[in-house]
């Protein structure tokens, strides 16, 4: 087959099977297009869009693996289209590109990822200690390393897409935040300056307990974040600590620091309750006034 599709000039033809459709259904459409040197999957999708299917829906922004917009399943494997080079795929066979299966379809390769934004809104804000006038935070690099790993997250939601807890059980979406947000909770929990205890709410409100450490999330993370080993497992351990030893938390926050953060951290350690926080946030909330108009 590969010899049949090769052109005289030695140029190969790519067979791309792209999923086309919307929430009511759809199917793969096949496009044949000459291969070009050094392309990534997104380039090929773009050429198909420019030449054959101008209304093909696909999300992308940076084309550099930095924004996390172009998540899809390539030959069934969750990946960023802009970081998957064609040369890593077997082009003797047709290449399929389908939307992320874990989210509802909007159109073609575009899915409805609003679930993730809803979870993000529920996570209580970062809460630093108060600084005196002119004072600045001091933190050691070793202490910020852990949280910095999670802050590399580009919110591609591929980990959310593969996590079987939501992928296979739609109803779990209500009680389970998913790996991306466990990484976010761990980031805040391990942030040297965050004063809110996030252990209990990680399990009670965000369903940490439902994760059974299959590590599928870690495997697909394009940023190489060790979601399970560095976020979920330590967070689970801390949840256990929270049950048995309510003061261990503060100890942990300030261990391993050759030069501890200023006394301010400990002094102003007065975590608000989640309810207080939410009330405060609700006050700041502004609404718009939707009305339907026109004729």
């Amino acid at each position: 087959m590969s010899t049949e599709t090769a052109t005289v000039a030695g140029q190969r033809t790519l067979k791309m099977r792209l999923w086309r459709g919307d929430e009511s259904g759809g199917d793969f459409a096949t496009y044949e297009i000459p291969a070009q040197e050094g392309e990534v999957v997104l380039d090929v999708v773009h050429r198909i869009q420019a030449e054959e299917a101008p209304d093909l829906a696909v999300r992308w922004n940076c084309k550099a693996g930095k924004c996390g917009s172009c998540s899809a399943e390539i030959n069934g494997r969750p990946a960023l289209m802009c970081m998957t080079r064609m040369s890593t795929l077997n082009i003797d066979e047709p290449i399929t590109v389908s939307p992320m299966r874990g989210f509802p379809i909007i159109r073609d390769l575009v899915t409805d990822v609003s679930f993730n934004y809803a979870v993000a809104r529920r996570i209580p804000a970062f809460q630093p200690p108060k600084l005196a006038e002119g004072e600045v935070f001091r933190m050691q690099q070793v202490d910020v390393d852990r949280s910095q790993e999670f802050r590399k997250c580009i919110e591609c939601f591929l980990c959310q897409n593969v996590c079987h807890v939501i992928r296979d059980h739609e109803d779990n979406k209500e009680s389970f935040a998913g790996p991306r947000f466990f990484a976010r909770l761990a980031e805040l929990e391990m942030h040297p300056l965050d004063t809110l205890d996030r252990r209990r709410l990680s399990s009670e409100q965000f369903g940490l307990g439902l994760c059974n450490i299959t590590k599928c999330c870690t495997e697909v993370c394009p940023e190489g974040i060790h979601i399970t080993d560095n976020a979920i497992i330590p967070l689970k351990e801390r949840v256990v600590d929270a049950r048995f030893d309510p003061v261990a938390w503060l100890g942990r926050k300030i261990t391993g620091k050759p030069d501890p953060t200023p006394a301010a951290v400990a002094a102003s350690f007065a975590p608000e309750t989640l309810e207080q926080q939410q009330a405060a946030r609700a006050l700041g909330k502004v609404g718009s006034h939707p009305q339907t108009s026109g004729a």
């Binding site: 917009s69 600084l131 300056l193």
Partner: protein, 600 residues
Amino acid sequence: MSEFETHIVDVLIIGAGGAGLRAAAEASAMGASTAVVCKSLLGKAHTVMAEGGVAAALGNVWPEDNWKVHFRDTMRGGKMLNNWRMAQLHAQESPDRVLELEQWGALFDRTPDGKILQRDFGGHRYARLAHVGDRTGLELLRTVQHRAVDVGIEVFMECKIVRLLHDATGAVNGAVGIWRETGKFIVFGAKSVVLATGGVGKMYKFTSNSWEGTGDGHALALWAGADLIDMECIQFHPTGMIWPPSARGLLVTEGVRGDGGVLKNIDGERFMFNYISDYFKAETSDTIEEADQWYENKRDFRRPPELLPRDEVARAINSEVKAGRGSPHGGVFLDIASRRSPEDIRRRLPSMYHQFKELADVDITKDAMEIGPTCHYIMGGVRVDADTAAATVSGLFAAGEVAGGMHGANRLGGNSLSDLLVFGRRAGIGAAEYALGKSGEVVIDELQVASVTAHALSFFDNDGSENAYSAHQALQDTMQSLVGIIRTESELVEAKDKLAELSERARVVSVEGHRQFNPGWHLALDLEAMTAVAQCTTLGALERQESRGGHTREDHPLPDNEVFGKVNMATSFVDGQVRLRREPLPEMPTELKELFEEAH
């Protein structure tokens, strides 16, 4: 008339990059009801791509640094075409804006004594860029995004604004947008509107910008009657990837040079030593020996010429390639492999390591990168008042890359992220104060809305064979070849004619399919913005008969300080046509002028 939903707010912010979200946080804190609209999902704006850092004279690494030095560097980098007041406010306020990010959860890299670490970048006298590895933009955007979410700002994502609305006096009072997902219209009534739409890179073929950089905000301002200034001043970043073709244009952060990387031609020569202009002679090393000592000892040695401002470096690369000393794919080499240990490179430049490994199969700890100039940033933009960010039309404000003036003819690296924070905040205050001080209800003019929606839908009725993608390619080819890094009168005149043709082509583009998530339709709408902006750039480039910063004329190779150094090129829309006039540059007060007379 098409059906639409309506939302009434005090302040409408168009754009959810660093500038838009920072403005939103401020407007909301002032008690104005605030909504943000953006073309992509929240958190994906172009700001996320910024790599090297955010410039602020914190003095953490070099206590000698202060706002005056930063101000001077910025003005000199901008070839004195900057709005001095913006440059001053920026230099004075950026340290506070960066520290404030820490209070919102940002985690910058640290110095040994636990403060924010700062790195070297071109044109900055001291190591001044606060950073997180080479993903500073992500850190900044995530931080303001979380902040905006925490204060409960309403975000309308994947929604493109196509026109602004105005009241009977001409004051802006809302906007019409389209939901990407459904293709339905959405109308905002607002007492004030902040443009924070970013740049214009997508009118060029090779650019570091994301798809969103289509100059929408510039065009919205223009169509609303506001002035743009200095649209000819466009920064071609010296180091973009050039191979493989699909990665062409992608940015290679200046951090590579700040951290020790050097530029070489095919003969292995560090050619930048041959391109030190008189303007920067006093502060630039003229031997390799001196340059190499600077990284460790900035007090006694002058900076290497690889770290000259971007316009200088981009022109030098261009000349090397033209002289036949380029790399195999038409660029030059950027070498850090022979200068730093593999561990250092991977730790300090993780995403560059990743980017080359994944996209070009090049291990930058072993081999040199092939790079060349790429369209990166527009210095020109909406003409604003420095203190309030108000545009020249009432009710309209602008901040971030879409605003003009701050960076003059050339922007220093790191000065954009700080600009977003300083002027994002100021625009938020300006727009909120304006809105809260304005009495009466916002009244939406349904006739205006009807004409906008009819226009937007007209692309579905066009039955011509014009396709948005090919018209866009033609625009990119024209700008790249005729209004690129080196310009000349005959080519600019040719570009002007071609653009007239292209705007006609853009008007008759026909769109296939239906309204739901239809990229072809959105490109058709982007295209009208891009052609309008391209016309401003071309007119400005024709009229500015000198070379200054990001505007280089082969036929006028020197700066003309007497005539063009004293004016902004203002473009505006008059009777449906882009018109240009010269506006005098605001005069700098004496006490600031004196900063430029002191010895280096």
